[in-house]
Symmetry: C2
Subunit: 206 residues, 2 copies
Amino acid sequence: MIDRLPHTLRSDALDNRERILDAARALFSADGLGVPMREIARCAGVGPATLYRHFPTKQVLATEAFADQLRACRTIVDQGCADPDPWRGLCLVIEKICELHARDRGLGEAFLTAFPGAPDVAGREYTVKAVAGLAQRAKDAGHLRSDFVLDDLILILMANKGIHSRSTDTQVTASRRFAGLAIQALKASPQHAPLPPAARLVSTPS
Amino acid sequence: MIDRLPHTLRSDALDNRERILDAARALFSADGLGVPMREIARCAGVGPATLYRHFPTKQVLATEAFADQLRACRTIVDQGCADPDPWRGLCLVIEKICELHARDRGLGEAFLTAFPGAPDVAGREYTVKAVAGLAQRAKDAGHLRSDFVLDDLILILMANKGIHSRSTDTQVTASRRFAGLAIQALKASPQHAPLPPAARLVSTPS
DNA sequence: ACGCTAACGGACGCCCCCGTCCGTTTGGCT
DNA sequence: AGCCAAACGGACGGGGGCGTCCGTTAGCGT
């Protein structure tokens, strides 16, 4: 059971909560979601019980820890959508999101494997729709290849997640180059051959 | 210590060895290298001790289990190199290798994460050199973008590994589409902007 | 048919992670 | 200053994977 009535945490409890979130952010970013809960606790200087009291499950902890990053994702998408040139906006989205995922290992995992059955993280549906609109405009403008489907973006993000490297720097460099290649692949071109059929990677909500 | 002198296995031992390899192939393919050794043993109908006696380490087991697949990789590369049109050959290599990795989850893991410190698996160096030659020819022919580097191929394979899906079919479909996009990205084009710098993903042997 | 030894596999001890309980500490209010 | 409950954290039991030991089984050569 979780504490119910107080709703006002004691100062030390609040402090611990914050230190736990910091530790979680750091460790998730560096090592992914695989890190043991106790490691996070140790790193935050608290006992395991305290950690579990604040965040009964890793899922909850991760959701809270990544709240900022997910907001950042939404901001990026909004920026892209705001760009008067939809193609440039789409490129920006791809580049920025890839970089974000490259810098934060846990984010990519949380974002895509998405904790199978995670609740709608930070308005995913809204974001998806926004990107879909952006893509349509880029298509209409003749910059985005006409056989593009939204699943291709998921495909690219999943693929980006597959790029792992020892150092974060290498990771980011590689991810940037990958984004460049991806953009080239998506660019409308008179010479391109038809693509193999797309796969349904995510169930598009009705 | 490993058995030394006999060099000729008893019939039942040989039989078990084969069943273990079969089980390993099946499980590695379906679930990746993460499967517990005991699971492989159970699936092969032998005790853990027997498994360990035949293959003292998971590394050894995987190497043996993937011998065929790695040979297949080399064959694909050889086929690609044999094609009179180097660009078509390179495309074939990309498509086939991506598909192979999509069908066999363990292979991708073994191939790239490459058991950090694994011995030269099935003549990796030779294969790498062959592909490098193929790429150079494709570049000279003006079909492959001139700023391509070999690390881009690694990048693509790593990225392909990042594509996961519940069903193998979806996985393969997605991987095929990804390969198509990758090829489009690598195609020489008058309109393409310069790419971000490449990352050193593998230490190229001298 | 018989024995010898290669080969087997159940069982063990080790370690790591998980989630929880309960005795102890300490912040905050009077 | 003193109380009390909120908050803490060490310690526990459970589960799972790993690699190994040793008593038992069964191929194979005579």
